[in-house]
Each structure stands twice: as C-alpha cells, then as structure tokens.
C-alpha cells in the first residue's frame, strides 16, 4: 500500500522523511501580519525522534500545524518549504493532503478527551482510519484495530473497542489516540504535549509506550513538549525554540551536556534537579518575559533577557544566522557570542544559604476523615437498603506543620489532596477527627462561621492563574477587598498603601493596581494570587500546585518568590503538588497520599532515599529528569487508580503495587510502621525488604549539581 501511495503522491522513499527549509509561518490578524515562526530548519530521518522544546508562544505547535498543512483560515506559510519524502507539501492539493494526513503523517494532541469523538464508540472511530485510507472492509478493519489496541498495551481490547471514550480513563484514552495515529503505519508521527494532561505515573507509561512503539513500527517522531526531562527520555535530537526561532539544535546529549545558547542554559537553570534543594542550589529564573510577536526586539530576540547581552552586537538588526558549534555541524546555535561565554561559569553554583528556622507547631491534623455521602434514590437501592454510599476522600489524615516550614502533600489526581485543602479552608467540614489551627479546632467550622482573623490566618494560592482572579475587577480592588475583609485595615488610604506594598513584595509594578486581570500574563496573575493570599498576614498558606500551569522559566521565579516571602514572614506553607522535583527542591517535609490515605511521610531526605513505600518508589521513578548523568530504576505501574467509591480491600495500593504480597496485602489493612524518627510508612512489607531497597535515582560519578 505504501509503495502505491508513494507513487501516487510523487514521494521519493529515499529522501528524508521530513525536511523543513527556512520555513516561515505567519498569522494574519486585524493588527496585520504576525510572524509566528521564522527561518525554521529541521531534517527528520527515518526512525529518528526529534524533540521541539520551548515555552508557550514560541511557535512549536505552529510548526506542527504547518507540517500537517493545517493552518486554519488566518495562518499561512510565507516562505521556505516543507518537504515530505522530497515533495514540497505546500504544492500539494487538498485531495493529496487528505490522502497523506492520518495515513503517512499522523498527530497526537494534548487533550485525549477532546481528540476523541464522545458520541462514537472507540472501535467505530478507530475502524474509520483503515476503512478510509486503505479501503478495508469493516471486519478486516476491526481485526486490525483489535491488534493495535493490544499493541498499545490496553487491557481487554475487546471491551475498549465497544466502549465510549468517557468510559475509560485519561491514560487509556491517550493510548487509544496513539493507536489511532499508528493504525495506518505512518512514516511520521507528531506528538503535541501528549502527556501534559496526565498524571506522572500514567505519563511514565505513555512515554515508555511511545518510545517502544516508534521503534517497532519504524515511525519517525516529532515530540513537542515543554518538559526537558521527557525529551531526554524519548528523543535523539532536540530543537530549542524561542520566540519563533530555533536557538539551538543538536543531539540530545550535546544540548543537555554542552548547551551553547544562553536561553537553553537559562531553561536548565530554572528547573530543579534531583539532589538539589532550595538551600543548596537556588533556582535561577530567566529575567523578564518572552516578547509579544509584535514587539520582538531587533537582532537576537533573547537579547533583552540575556545575561551576556552586548550592546551593538546582539541587537544588530542584520539577520542572525545559526552557527555550528562542533566540527560536524550537527550542533548549531543562533547566538553571536556563544564562543565568548564562559560556559563552566554559567553553571549554577552551590550556594550555602541559611536553612529557615522551623518554629512552633502551627497546624495539627489529628486522625481527620472526610467522607462524602452519595444518596442513591433509585428503587433498587431502596429495596436493597443501600440508599447511601460513601466516597472515602480522606481516610485517617494525621500530620502536623510548624511555623516557617514547607510541608509538601504529594499524590496523583484523586488521592484526596484537594479534599484535604477544602477541609482546611472550611469549604467542607470533616467527618471525624480534629484539625487544630493554634488552639482552635477548625475541622467543623465552615468558613462562613469563622472570624475574619481566623480566615485570614489560613489562605490558599490556587493552581490555575487564569481563573484565580475575577476578570471583572481590577487587581488593586481584589487585593484591597481581602485587606478590608480580614480587618487588617479599613481606612481607604491605608488600604491602598498596603496593596501597593504587597505589589512591591511580589515584585509587580505599582501601575498594576489599576489593571484588569486580562492585561496580565500567567506568571503575573499568579503573583497577584500570592499577594492576595498573603494580604491577611496568614499563619498557614495552602499552595495548590501554584506553578504547575506556568512556563518553566516563570515557574522558577514564582517558586523563588513564594519561598522568599515565606522566609520573611515565617509562614507555614502546605505545598500540594504532583511534581516531585519541585517538592524535593522546596519542601522540608513530605506527605505522600494515595486514595485518601497517607502512605508515607517524613523529612525530604527520608522520603527521597530508601527505604521507600512502594508507591513513593514508583512515583520517584516516573519523574522525568532533565539530566544525562542521572540513572533511574524503571518501575512502571500497571492498572488504574481504583475508585474511591469502591476502594480495594486491605491496602489501598495493593491493586497496582509491584511488591504486593498475595494473601496479605489484599486482605488485611497495612500497619503504620515507623522506620525512623518522623518517617512513617503504611505498608505490610518486612523490615528486611525495606532495608534492602536501592535508591531509585542514582547520580553518576562526578555529579556537581
């Protein structure tokens, strides 16, 4: 089939799979032409995996859409060529493109739920691909689809074939999308952030699958991601994009170990690496933010943010070409000063900072339980006498937090960490147990009955910067409202003064007082969110994944800011996260949750080193790490998270645990073991097994952080 299609479309099987030559892409808006990608070069050979990295707005998704020739009404290729097996795709007719898309080139998108049609059964959707492209009969297509569903390691392909998309989990959905992309044996597969919407352990499974399956099917990959760790795991070569241009391109090893562009260096400096914590190696954010496409500076677009900027050279408006770094010319950078920079000195230094002093106990959660009652009003339920069932969102939560301390609560979606936050904030009341804030048990006081100073003492920073501020009110009025509400100040002048001071604290210009949230970038919104949380001089701040929706370089700056304010005000921070590298970086103590239970807790050193709880072990193994000198033990979790409505008997983790002891774990509830002072694990494993555990993450010799 391939040969016939190649002939029909005039493709040359000996040419490289994909070649982008000086590709320029623009969008046309009311404001005129906006160049999105300029001067983009890329060659993808057979079986090669290329990573495209960059922050949002750098043009990486635009490149993918251009390769698919799917630019929408207002986008167009303004220069250069995209050659697929030697044939320029811009010269193809719509009919030829249709024959190509989905058969020789396929794409996997970020949101699995929105790439599957919710009204069609999965089998029917998948069967369309071979039926349309290869003219197979329904039965032949079904056979092929079932094979492919098994190939992407979905359990019980027959059941999935007959299911609707909403009946399977997110990870399974993404596997289905990948199966769909592979059905016609494509030569090139584009993956646009395929795991961003998924949990870490699920992500690890999908990445593993993508890697294996590309080899098995002889497909070339273009993997778009903002996560450098994932690129290291999956790709052979990497292109780093900044503001519409490739700034560095080379083999993964070259770029990761010897990056030669200040932006790439900046990216690596702003992600926490294993073994580094906030006191030893502070993150170094890149200053400023990416320019808007209409306001790109002359010369090097990274110039204004670069530490090595040289007036007259870097902002010279002459076209900035890429220059080869090594003799072969396979590693190139777009920088005029790359050979003048001392790259050893650019590595972040260890800097011994004073660890924060941990004060008195502020928050004590004592055997707290939160069950949600689900009333079943059906007749059957009444007859059987099971009118209400319980979702056990939090089961026996027990830990405390001290002044100035950062306690991280780690777990994947559905582990109950958000419920815990709701109980603390008084949006829900606990079913059992106590939550002591100072001398006051707040577990049963809903927020409406709390006094203003009690509310102000416990505040939250939300995850999504685009929802955290009310778009109808100005930034200033939103912070001012909090100050008045908590009774910190009431005189209008004094309130205004305090708001301006808070804006200073979060390093935002004072003019932002009058701004509406839509005029702010994501990072700036999150800073306002932090200012708002700290407006009532809180004792405890719950930070619900405060940086996970932000770009890497902004993440570092916001994290740093949060830490600085905490250090200054001696606030306790409960840091809810699924990102174990960030947690390793900034937490003092870690609480790992699974299905409503705390499965492990202890200091960072205790949790990140053996002995581990088997779940922590798997989580650690799933974290993508952007460092070539780190060796990881691979533990991929099988199966899905059980429903909290119907948890497994015995240990909550027994259905997925690689170290499960049959006949014990699935029958009896595990005991809470104290392994060291303050280090507790909820597990059946023998002490001897714990002692023999090996570290998941190992640093190679000579690692300098």
């Amino acid at each position: 089939m391939d040969a016939a299609l190649f002939d029909k479309l005039g493709l040359d099987p000996k040419a490289p799979v994909l070649q982008c030559e000086d590709l320029c892409i623009s969008y046309y808006t009311r404001a005129g032409e906006i160049p999105a990608v300029m001067d983009f070069n890329l060659t993808v050979g057979a079986n090669e995996a290329i990573g495209l990295v960059g922050e949002s707005g750098c043009g990486k998704s635009t490149v993918a859409l251009a390769i698919m020739q799917y630019m929408g009404k207002n986008g167009a290729i303004t220069g250069g060529a995209v050659r697929f097996f030697g044939r320029d795709m811009t010269s193809m007719s719509e009919l030829e493109l249709r024959a190509l898309r989905g058969s020789l080139i396929s794409m996997v998108y970020q949101e699995p739920m929105s790439s599957l049609n919710p009204a069609m059964k999965i089998g029917a959707q998948l069967c369309e691909v071979p039926m349309i492209h290869e003219g197979l009969s329904r039965d032949q297509a079904k056979e092929r689809v079932l094979e492919m569903l098994a190939a992407v390691r979905l359990p019980d392909p027959k059941r999935i074939f007959n299911a609707y998309p909403h009946q399977i989990s997110g990870g399974q959905q993404q596997r289905v999308v990948i199966a769909m992309a592979l059905l016609s044996g494509p030569k090139l597969m584009l993956l646009d952030e395929p795991t961003t919407a998924l949990d870490v352990t699920v992500e690890a499974g999908i990445v593993e699958l993508i890697k294996d399956i590309a080899k098995e099917f002889g497909t070339s990959l273009i993997y778009i991601s903002h996560n450098l760790g994932l690129i290291l795991n999956t790709c052979d070569k990497i292109s780093v994009l900044y503001s519409g241009k490739t700034v560095e391109h080379g083999s993964v090893r070259d770029v990761f170990d010897e990056m030669r562009h200040p932006y790439t260096r900046g990216l690596f400096n702003s992600i926490p690496l294993p073994g580094a914590d906030k006191n030893a190696r502070p993150l170094i954010p890149i200053k400023g933010q990416m320019p808007l496409p209409t306001e790109r500076p002359a010369g090097c677009t990274f110039g204004p943010r670069c530490d090595y900027f040289e007036e007259g050279l870097c902002n010279d408006p002459a076209p900035l070409k890429v220059s080869p770094v090594d003799a072969k010319g396979s590693h190139v950078v777009r920088c005029r000063r790359w050979d003048a920079i001392d790259w050893e000195a650019a590595r972040p230094r260890r800097r011994q900072a004073e660890p924060p002093k941990i004060g008195a106990q502020v928050l004590e959660i004592d055997h707290m339980k939160k069950y949600y009652e689900i009333k079943d009003r059906s007749l059957m339920a009444l007859i059987r006498g099971k009118a209400s069932r319980y979702v056990k969102a939090n089961e026996d939560i027990d830990f405390d937090a001290h002044a100035g301390e950062t306690v991280a609560i780690v777990g994947e979606s559905g582990c109950g960490k958000s419920t815990l936050a709701k109980v603390l904030l008084g949006l829900e009341t606990a079913t059992e147990g106590r939550v002591m804030l100072g001398d006051l048990d707040i577990s049963n006081i809903p927020v409406r009955r709390r006094a203003p100073n009690e509310i102000g003492a416990l505040q939250i920073i939300f995850q999504n910067p685009f929802e955290t501020l009310n778009p109808a009110h100005t930034v200033g009025s939103q912070i001012a409202r909090v100050i008045r509400k908590f009774g910190v100040a009431s005189d209008p002048e004094e309130v205004r003064e305090r708001v301006l001071k808070l804006l200073d604290t979060v390093r935002l210009p004072r003019e932002f007082y009058e701004r509406k949230p839509r005029q702010l970038s994501g990072g700036q919104k999150q800073r306002v969110g932090i200012a708002r949380a700290f407006a009532g001089e809180p004792k405890v701040v719950v930070a619900d994944e405060p940086v996970s929706a932000l770009d890497v370089s902004v993440q570092a700056a916001v994290t740093q800011l949060l830490m600085d304010i905490q250090r200054e005000q001696k606030t306790t921070v409960l840091f809810i996260s699924h990102d174990l590298s960030v947690v390793r970086y900034l937490a003092d103590r870690v609480v790992v949750m699974y299905l409503g239970h705390i499965v492990e807790q202890g200091s960072v050193e205790q949790v990140y080193a053996p002995p581990y709880h088997p779940y922590t072990e798997a989580l650690l193994s799933a974290v993508p790490i952007a460092d070539t000198s780190v060796k990881k033990r691979r533990i991929v979790l099988e199966g899905e998270l059980p429903s909290a409505l119907n948890p497994p008997k015995g240990c909550p983790f027994c259905t997925r645990c690689p170290r499960v002891i049959a006949g014990l774990c699935d029958v009896e509830e595990p005991p809470l073991k104290t392994l060291a002072d303050g280090h507790q694990v909820l597990c059946h494993l023998e002490d001897q097994v714990f002692e023999e555990m090996e570290p998941v993450i190992a640093l190679a010799e000579g690692y300098s952080g």
């Binding site: 808006t29 009311r30 404001a31 005129g32 906006i34 808007l292 496409p293 209409t294 306001e295 904030l425 008084g426 949006l427 927020v447 409406r448 709390r450 203003p452 509310i455 102000g456 505040q459 939250i460 939300f462 995850q463 999504n464 929802e467 955290t468 501020l469 009310n470 778009p471 109808a472 009110h473 409202r481 909090v482 509400k485 908590f486 839509r518 005029q519 708002r532 009532g536």
Partner: protein, 368 residues
Amino acid sequence: MSEATLQTREAPFITRLFTFRETRAAMAWSIGLYALAAIASGLGAPLFVQAIACAALVFFALNALWSVRESSIAVIGLALVLFWVLLATAAPLLPLRDPTAVSPAFKGLSEVLQIKTLLTYAPDMKLTEAQSALLEKPTWFGYSYEGETYTLGIDHKGRDILSRLIWGAQRVLVWASLATATAYIVGMLFGVMAGYLGGWVDEVISFVANIMLSFPVMVLYIIIITQLGASGVNVIIAVTFASAPGIMRIVRGLVLDLKTRDYIAAAQTRGESAWYIMLFELLPNARGPLIVDACLRLGYTTIAIATLGFLGLGLPPPEPDWGSMLAEARAKGATFHHMIIIPAAALSSLILGFNLMADGLREISLRD
C-alpha cells in the same frame, strides 16, 4: 491575542474632542447623563434638560458607533436604534404638531375620501375640475392643505402622522426598555440564586419558571392585561412574567459554569456572603452573553408592546402608539396605504436594529 498587541488607530477628531481618559468611561458618563436627563424630563423638568439629554446621546452615539466599528452589522444595528432613540428624545424640541389634535387638513382629506367612496359605487361618475385636482394631489408624503404641509401625511382622523410616529417612538422605547430592564432584574436575581445556591432553591425556582414557560406567551399577555387593565405599568408586569423565566434560565446556566472558577472559591475562602458573591463576583462576569441577549429581548419586547397595542390591550388611546396606529390603519388601509406602511416600517426598522446590534455584539465578543 492580547489587546496590547493590537495597534489602536487614531479616533476621528470629533470623538477625540469629546473623549476624556478612555472611550469606555466617556460612554458610561454620557449614557448616565442621558438617563438622568431623560428621567428628569419625564418627571416634568424644563425643556433645556431635554436638550442636555440629546447632546449626551449624540456624544454617546458617536463613541458607541466608533467602538463597534469592527463589525459593520453592529454599526448598522446601532445606527438604526440610535436614530429612533434620538428622535424620541428630541420629540419635545422638534417643531411637531400635537399628535392627538385633529388638524384642519382633515376637512380636505374627508373630501377626497368622499369622492373615492362615490367612485367605488359609481365608477362612471363625472368629476368636476376641482374634484379631479383634489384626487391628483398626494394624500400622504408632502400632503398639503391651505398652505400647511404634512410631511408624512395625516391619518383618517386628520392627525399628523409624522408627529404621531415620533411621539409613538418615545412611548415604545420607554416602555420596551423599562419592561426589559424589569424582566432582567427579576430574571437575573432568580437565575443567580438558582445557579449559585442550588439545592431546593434551584428546584423551586426552576419549577415555577418551567410552568410559566409552558404558557403560550400571547395567552399570558392577554390574561394579565385583561385582568389588570391596560396601562404602561401593567405592560411591564406582563412582559416580566413572559420574559423573566427565559432570562432566569440563561443566567442560571452561566452561573453554573462560572461558580466552578477559582476566583469564586477564593471569595468563599475569604468568607464573603452569598449575596456579595452572587452580585459582585458572578453577575459582572456573566454580562457578555447577557448584553447580547438583552438586545434581542428588547426587540421581542418591542414586538410584544406593538402586538398588545394592536390588540387594543396596550397603552390607552388616544396617545400615539405604533401598535394602535397599525390597528387603526387596518380598517382604513385599503384607502390610505401610508397609514399601514409608515408605522410598520418604523417598527420593523427598530426591531431589525435591535437584532443586528445583538448579532454584531456577538460577532465582536467572539472575535476577542
């Protein structure tokens, strides 16, 4: 696409002349001033207040047309609506005849009517020269009698149609906007309560709304007006009963979506009362779709008021009212076509204006 990236073109001189700080604020001030002046003159303030209202309105109109220039549909719609609003506001200032007075021209017209009637019975009748001259003269546009010209002619009772049209526009617009505003206040209040509070509040409100929505609208109007009597206030009550359930449903749907946002959780976690959250956190963010719906609903309400007038259930005669003008024309329409065409065209243009405005605003809101 953020707003900052869009280059702002220079506003025309006239707009820049009046623009202080930014167009949005200028528009808010001018419409506020207009509303105050219009209400004051409605309560019997001296005539110059009306002039202030007109000036404020012209200023607002220029700014509003400039701010929707992106969408030609919105410009046309807004221009149509503002044309009528301006005429209605300026009615006391314009040299119009009394809309209810029977003019002397009625005598001339009745002669024509007589000849026409005679001709239908005796088509072969011989006409005198004076009679022929009368028949040849126009009876509507530019009808003149004893040296006085009636631009749009006179109706079968000899009243000046132009004057009735403009004064009628005032009544239609005032009652339509008052009725829509009342319906909106009621609908939004119940909608935000049903959406945000949920539970039994939602169940009760939704149930009542469903019952009201199951009534044919016309039947509802007729029942209410016949029970309460025909008056402006009762028209408002009738329109509110008919429209509020629909508005309530829209608001409820919007609120159900908005209340899951983090900023609502943020308001809850700082202990705001339910009313504060509903009125200051939720409603301002629902305004986009509501403004579009309000424009459409103004059109529906105009139709409703005209229909009520047509059925004789609207504003009591002899005050000019487009609906009752149409009803009167129905009887005489065979002889005096202009009596039907003029108010019907006016009514259609206003409703078209509202609908185009809604379309245009939706187009603009989708673009950003």
